[in-house]
Each structure stands twice: as C-alpha cells, then as structure tokens.
Amino acid sequence: MNLTPIQLRRRRGVFSMAILSLASLIGFGFLQKNTAPVTFRFVLEKEWVAIHEWTLDSRSGSYGFSAAALLISLWAFFQFRRDKKVHVQSALGGFSLLMAFMCWAASGKMIPFTGLLQGALLLSVPLIFGSMAGVLCERSGVINIAIEGQLLASAFAAGVVASLTKNTTWGLLVAPLAGALISLILATFAIKFSIDQVILGFVINVLVIGMTNFLYKKLLIPYQNTWNSGPILKPIEIPLLSKIPVLGPIFFSQTIIVYLMYAIVLAIHFSLFKTKWGLRTRAIGEHPTAADSVGISVNSLRFKNVIIAGLVAGIGGAYFTVGAVGAFGKEMTAGKGFIALAALIFGRWSPLGAVMAALLFGFADNLQGILSITGTPIPSEFMLMAPYIATIIAVTGFVGRVRAPAADGIPYSRESSH
C-alpha cells in the first residue's frame, strides 16, 4: 500500500494515540498504588446548576478514561482506513487521556473543573492577542518576533495611563497605540530598510525590556501611588448567557478585553479568508511579485497590516495590567509573546488554529498551576514543562506539515526581484 504524506502522518497520529492510551491504562490504571475518591467541581458562582460536583474512584476513573481513549483510537483507526479525517477522534482521545491523567494526579483531592477552564481561558488571552498580531504580520510576509515587545510596551502604557487618570478606559485606549508604535519601528525597518526581521524583532524586544525596566525603576517604584496603582476592569456579565452551567462563567462573565478578543478573532479569521483585504494580504505573503504585477501596492499593505497587528497586540498587552492585576511589574509578560509565536506556528498560520493552540497552552499552564496547589505525585518543574511537551506531541503526531507563507520574512522590492 502506497500512502501519501498526509495519510502517513494520519497513521502516525492514530498509532501514537493508541500507544498513549495503552500507556495511560497501564501507568495511571494498573500502577496506581492507592486509590481514593477524586472530585470534579462544576460550580463557580451564580450560574444555574446542572450538577454540583462529580466524585469517582481515582483508579476506576483512570481505567475508564484510558479505555475510552483506546476505543476512540480504534474508531480513529477505522476512520483512517476509510481515508477520512481524524480531527474529532484526536480531540476526544486527547480529552479522555487528560481526564485519565487528572484522576491519577488528583487522587483523593478536588479539581475545580469550571475554574480550571476559566483560568485556562484567561491565561490564553494574551497568547491569543499575540498570535493574532503574528497572523496579521506573517500572512503579509513580515516575521514578527517582536510580539513580546508589543505586549510589554502596551502593558506598561495601559498600566501607567490608567493609574495617572484613575480610569481604565484611558488605559485601554492607549495600549493599542503603544503596540502600534512598536509596530511602526518594526514596519519601518523591516519594510522600508529591508533589515533582517528576526534580528530586528529580537532587538526591539530587548529595547522594550530595557526601556520599561528603566522607567519602572525611576518612576513606577518611587512614585508608586500616582504612577503604578491603576484600577482594574470589572467583569461584565452577559444576561442569560452567563447563567449557562459550566460554559457561562467561563465565557460570558469576563472583562471587555475578552469580549473584544472574541470579536477580533472572528473578524480576522473571516476577513483573511473571505474578503478582498484577506485575499490581498495572503497574496503579498505568498508571492509579492505576483501581487505587484496586478497592481497591489505590496509594501504599503504590509505596512498597514503590521500597524494593525500592533493595535491588536496592544489590547492583549492591556490585559496584563488593566485587565488583570492593575499594577505594572518588571518584565511581566514573561515570554508570553514567544509562546504566542509558537501558537501561531502550531496553529499553522490560521487565526482559529492559533486560538486552539493558545487555548491548549493556556490550559496546560493552568492545570499545572492548580495541580501544584492541590499537590501531585509529579515535581512542579515537570508540570511547568507540560505545555511544551503537549506542543511537541501535538505537532509531531497530529498537526502534520506546517507551511509558512512562502514570502514570510523576505523584504520586497521590484528591482531586486529581477
């Protein structure tokens, strides 16, 4: 049987899921020494209640979910034999494996299930904004390593402005401008002067870290009361929707930033694939010479998109200060911009794909946090690695060939293309 690369990859995915299921059955099931009840809580606050909590025996839970994963692998195998996609099966299998793991890890403890998911969403917010900024830049053919710098600069600007004005709205309005300012530097040097974009992005990050550290030390610490004690955005509950059990408090009892995020993600995904702007943006990222030859002004569209990307990243940056803790902290973005970049690649340069990847990263991050509080058999250092291990497994097993926009990172000029 001759398999195409896609089929080969699918087969690899199915087999690795089956092997993981088996390992889970043995590792979390057979080898679990002391079984104890594990409780999942489904209620957070004021939502209508369907079930309050669910308690089950940890060993039988691990057995059950591992067996389910094994059955799903079998299902996926039949799908593969019929040459069909295995996306649904991968998602279900992944979820079952995760539940098997949680039963084992939280044996004898309580998992706040809704809280786990809500926290995961919140941890994903800056990643999602960052990866949207990445999508906008890289689909147009400009590599954006400076997402980290955009997030940090706008977090700083939002925090300081909100603190000075005692008003979150001003903070929220200034943050996109700060992101756009960083984009302006990126766009000017990358597009106008054709500087190597990877080096440029890296230098911008270092610049922003240096600037914010300096101002933090000279302004925000000595004059903390005026400069660094900003207010925080209040959650807005959407009537009815916020009362849905489990989903309500996760998705519909959030700050304006999260609602903006839903709108921006949908708008970018729709625009990129369905509109004139999107067609042109993808064209200049794939084959700028061809776009130019039909009258599209490549560099000005790139410039525009990089600036829009800065605005988007800026809102994500505002989340760190006015959206979460109020005060700015030194280097508080802590590499989230780079993880956003990873989410972009993992999501194959597609907006919704990047969102899925960012949610996965956010979930792994939050699970790690909750398990390290409740206490698990695993050292917390390993738990910290979990998001990245999840990435590697997902990329090698399920995502398959990743193809960047063909002209990503290559400056365009007419004379040099001849």
Binding site: T275, L279, A291, D292, G295, H418
Partner: protein, 502 residues
C-alpha cells in the same frame, strides 16, 4: 491597438540592459522579439508592463503618449503580460488568482467570485483551454498555469499581450497548442509581443521580427528569413547550426543504473525504479519536461541525494551510498544544473574554483600545505585549453560571463581522470557561442571513449547531441529510443504518452 517604444534606455549599475531601444507593434500583429539570454528582452517588456522604470525614453499607445508607472497603468491602457515565471499564487485557486487586484465584493467586503467563475468558464470554452476555475494552481500542470495567465490578461481586456519566453516551460505539444492559441488571438484582434530565442517558433507565428543584441536593436526581419540569417543577426557573427558528429562506436558499459529509486525526506518518490546504461563512446540524453525527476537522478549519481535505493555502477563498481568524493574519484565528471549555486563558489578566484575537487592532492597540495604557484600555473593552462576569457586567473569567478563560468566548470570537471560525464542542462542561459563550445566538447568527450549522460529540456540540444534518448516522465524512464525518433513522437513521450510499437 498599436504600441510604440521610443529610445528606451535602462541601466543597472554599469550594465546597460536597454540602450535606446525603439520598436513599433502594429494593431493585430504578432511581433517577435528575438535575442539571446541577457540581450535585454525581459527588461524591455518589464518596462512596458510597468514593473521597471526606464531611465529615459517614452511609450505611446495608439499614437498617444502614456506613462506606465505600475502594472495597473499598463492594464488600464490595455497591455497584458504572461510572465516567464508565472505571476500566480500557488496556494490560490484559479478564480482567486484571476480576481486578485480586481476583486468584486458583496456586502461586508466579502469576495464575489461568481462572475469571475462564469467568465473563466466562457473564455476557457472559447479557446478550448480546459481550465477549472476552482482548481488550486499549484496542482495544475505548467501548461495549464500558463493558460490561467492568458485568461487573466483577456479578462482585463488586454489588446496587446506580452508573452515572455512562453515556450521555455512547455512540452513540444503544449508549445504547438500555444502557437495555435496565439494565431487565434491575433485573428480576434489582439496584438502579441512574443519574446523568444527559439528560431523555429518565430518562423511559425511571427508577422515581423525585431532582433535585439546586447541591449540594442540590431535589425528587423520577416519570418521568411532563414534560421541561419536570424541566428547570425542574433549572435552577431556567422553561426553553424549543425554539428559535425561521427557515428558512435559504443564500447563497454561505464555507467549502469539499476533499479534506482530516489525519495525526498517525506518519502515521496521522485525517481522511480530507473534502469539506464551509458557505454563508452556514446551520448545518452535524458529528455523530459523540467521537474520530472531529472535533477534528482543527476544528483543521485554524485551521491548528493540522501534517500536512494538501488545500484549505480561506475565501470562495474557500485558507488551508491558512498561519499560524493568517492563518486568523483571513481571517474564521474558533473556539470550541475545551476552553475552559480552548485558549480562554483562565486567569491573564490578562477584558479581556486578550478581545483575545488583536487586541492588536497598533489601537485596542488600536500598535508597541510597548498602550493599557490602550481595552482596558478595550472589555471593558466586551463584558461588556454578551454578558452576562458578573463583578465587574470585571480579574478573572482563572479566577474565572468555565464558562458565563461560554464567553461570554468567544464575545465575543472574534465581535467581529472574521467569515465562518465554527467551534464545537467549544460547550455541553459548561455549565448550561442558558448553553446557551440559546450556541444563540441561533449562530442569530443564521447569520441575520446567516455560515456556522456546529458540532461536537457531543449529538444534541439537533445537531437544535436544524443546517440540514444531516454525520456523521463513523472520520475520514470518511460522509454529509451534511438535519436532518429521524430520530434512529435518524442514530444508525445515527454508528455507521458507511450505509443504501442508496431
């Protein structure tokens, strides 16, 4: 619509690409612009299409002066272009490619492709193009991609169509179809500017011919001119188009490829189960449309392809799976497809490039030492032998013309003990003079009892040199035929059509 270019001049640094070029294309004619590679034809057309700006000169359409600053200006006055390297986005569909830059939108700025689909279907039917508006361009054969470009130009009401070396990427059959399409376009009132260096095609369709050499118009001609006359004008001196070649006297097998399969790193088979033999004193040409596995087959003989199965014997000894230097020292000379990228180190001097393969062997070097005086004196000899035109052997090889660069490659590869010469597109992009030199050298190697394996996409070259022709299609050798095969039969084989032998 008529187009006139007056005194167009364009320089790139010290190079004068177009030197006061003037020409006039009349309404409804096919005007061929004939010139060698590097004569400045593409530059001139890119200026007419607005992709480049001239230093001086002017353009007029229907006797009215126009300014063309960008391709959109050219389209607006009715000038369309089919580029040598297609201006299509590989991951887009045909319809998406065609509407790009002229999108129709519905509410919310969403794309409306329905009108474009209908229009593509109409033109496709009218010219018998067989183009599906919803096919993704990268999955289409090259000939169909070119038709997409033609459809696009027609949809934007091009009255003058520039075709820049349109046949370079086509099979002979596709070329014939294109020539037919050109005639049909002309009969419907479209003027065509046809850029080429292939004499036969010019004679087949052109109404008038302008010949360009080194950036200047050197003359005009009618298609009734003989090929010799056209070639002489194009090159600037008398050219012998036929080669003197003695009957082959094949001896023992020097290169034997057995059940060779080459895959890429994703496991896709690029060369499938090939068997081929080259004997002493014969030239075997591998013909085929570009991208059918020739590149990989050639590289595999040098052990440059990492994933191979099978056997490659040089004079009876298997070298597959051993090192590149084993292949070289077992007697393989290799002229790579891209001399700039794979054949030479541009910033190194000519003398250094001449010893890249033997720099560590006596008399050039010994242990840690190298002997520059020997390197230099040997280089002087090679320059004489291979007629390499240069000021000094210490000049960087990047300062040479394409023909002289190729002579440096040949000089290096043929100056060690050689049994088999593997030459991949050895005359691509060369001027006629250098092509003659390379061809004569290949025949000289054959007559000296070496085996020559020539990879070429040019039928003229295949017929001029080959004693036997192996045709590659989709990674397989679908037939090995004597050089007496007709052009059209060979063309069919290159398109994958294998006739049943009577």
């Amino acid at each position: 619509m008529s187009v006139e270019l007056r005194a167009i001049t364009k320089t790139f640094g010290a190079l004068v690409a177009n030197d006061a070029i003037s020409l006039r294309v009349e309404d409804g004619e096919i005007h061929a612009i004939l010139g060698e590679n590097g004569a400045g034809k593409s530059t001139l057309m890119n200026i007419l299409y607005g992709l480049l700006q001239p230093d001086s000169g002017e353009i007029s359409v229907d006797n009215k002066s126009v300014t063309i600053n960008a391709p959109s200006d050219a389209l607006a006055v009715g000038i369309g272009m089919v580029h040598q390297h297609f201006m299509l986005i590989p991951v887009f569909t045909v319809a998406e490619n065609i509407v790009l830059g002229h999108e129709k939108t519905k509410s919310l700025g969403t794309l409306d492709l329905s009108q474009a689909r209908a229009e593509i279907a109409r033109i496709s039917k009218e010219f018998n193009f067989d183009v599906d508006p919803d096919a993704v361009v990268e999955t289409l054969p090259v000939g169909i991609q070119q038709r997409v470009e033609v459809i696009r130009a027609l949809m934007y009401n091009a009255k003058v169509l520039i075709l820049d070396e349109p046949t370079a990427v086509l099979t002979p059959q596709e070329t014939d179809e294109l020539l037919t399409v050109m005639k049909r376009l002309k009969s419907q009132g479209t003027s065509i500017i046809f850029i080429t260096h292939k004499l036969r095609e010019v004679q087949a369709v052109a109404d008038r011919i302008t010949i360009i050499r080194r950036g200047k118009v050197v003359g005009t001609a009618l298609p009734s001119a003989t090929q010799e006359e056209l070639a002489t004008q194009m090159v600037g001196r008398p050219v012998v188009l036929a080669l003197n070649k003695k009957h082959p006297a094949p001896g023992r097998s020097l290169l034997a490829i057995k059940d060779l399969t080459v895959t890429d790193n994703r496991g896709v088979e690029l060369v499938k189960n090939i068997n081929l033999e080259v004997r002493a004193g014969e030239i075997v040409a591998v013909a085929g449309v570009q991208g059918n596995g020739q590149t990989e087959l050639a590289r595999a003989i040098l052990n440059l392809e990492p994933h191979c199965r099978g056997e490659i014997q040089i004079d009876g000894e298997n070298i597959l799976g051993r090192s590149v230097s084993d292949a070289i020292h077992s007697g393989v000379a290799f002229v790579p497809e891209s001399r700039e990228l794979d054949g030479l180190i541009s910033s190194f001097s000519i003398s250094e490039n001449l010893i890249l393969d033997v720099f560590d062997k006596e008399p050039y070097g010994k242990k840690l030492a190298m002997f520059p005086s020997v390197v230099r004196s040997e280089a002087e000899k090679r320059i004489q032998e291979f007629d390499i035109r240069t000021q000094s052997v210490t000049d960087p090889v990047s300062s040479l013309s394409g023909g002289n660069k190729q002579k440096v490659v040949l000089a290096r590869e043929l100056s060690r003990p050689v049994k088999v010469v593997v030459a991949s597109q050895p005359t691509r992009g060369l001027d006629v003079g250098s092509i003659e030199f390379v061809h004569e050298r290949m025949i000289a190697e054959r007559d000296a009892g070496r085996g020559v394996l020539l990879f070429s996409t040019e039928l003229d070259e295949v017929f001029a040199l080959a004693d036997r022709i192996a045709v590659m299609y989709k990674g397989e050798i679908i037939d090995i035929v004597p050089a007496t095969i007709s052009r059209s039969d060979l063309g069919l084989l290159m398109a994958g059509v294998k006739q049943v032998k009577a």
